[in-house]
Symmetry: C2
DNA sequence: GTAGCATGGTTACGAATCGTTACTGAGGAA
DNA sequence: TTCCTCAGTAACGATTCGTAACCATGCTAC
């Protein structure tokens, strides 16, 4: 997305500096979108082909799947191997980096599953509060 | 965002079902955007006021901060307390739910920090590969 | 007294992104 | 022949994002 990456200086080690924060925000921005996390999670158990991945995720469009996969490949999370047969066969798999990344992603997903009821409850309360004005 | 949630059918029980996956994807979609994670992370150490938060994050616009904070409040992650003085004083803080959520979010952020070099390396390789065509 | 600044937003508008639909082109099944 | 699958791409409208301006209020400087 944002291609302008300026490498900062490290003014004082130990002190939690500005550039680290900027880097986190930049990296998080690259990673933390709906489809990336969902794709990485779906690829967790093993390699998958394009349409299998699409079916596995469910409501993703071909365009979003293709472009997000390209981003993930660019960032080194997934590998793309083409077998030139007919019909064409393209397999996507997590790289070592992707498998490492799966750990915090699964953490997030598991937390989400475990706490969806709490979120729903909070939303219900919020709706009541807004309705009461 | 997307309020139309259609509950699917259960074709075969025991088989890891569709609705759980749909729910995860829905919840992840609500949570996993750049600004939400960044705001939650920034609120980690303690409550903050609107402009302090804005300065803390850096390159967020008032509009995005305001609307993301409203979403986070709606989902029960942050609380908003207004002190009616002049100038108006609005304090945002993580709720219990938000503090719980901070754990996987910090996991993600720490992973990101620890592995940003690997991502950068992967990106460099990708650029070379693309340049070579 | 009035020009500027801060606070916490909202609104308008252009830009970027997202999602839906249609299409590719080769092969296999009906 | 017609339809389907494979892995996408192109066009286009809808949605969202970000920038800039504005709001009311009170404080300070001039």
């Amino acid at each position: 997305m944002n291609e302008t990456v300026q490498e900062g200086t490290f003014p004082s080690p130990g002190h939690h500096d500005e550039t680290a924060c900027a880097r986190i925000s930049q990296m998080l921005a690259r990673i933390s979108d709906k489809w990336s996390l969902l794709i990485i999670r779906t690829l967790g158990p093993g390699p998958m082909r394009f349409n299998a991945l699409k079916r596995g995720i469910g409501d993703i469009s071909q365009k979003m799947l293709a472009s997000t996969l390209r981003d993930l490949e660019e960032n080194g999370f997934v590998s793309r191997t083409v077998t030139p047969v007919t019909p064409p066969q393209v397999e996507y798999a997590l790289t070592d980096l992707g498998r490492d990344f799966l750990v915090p992603v699964q953490g997030l997903a598991e937390w989400t599953m475990a706490n969806s009821a709490r979120i729903e409850a909070a939303r219900a309360i919020y709706r009541l509060r807004v309705a009461a004005e």
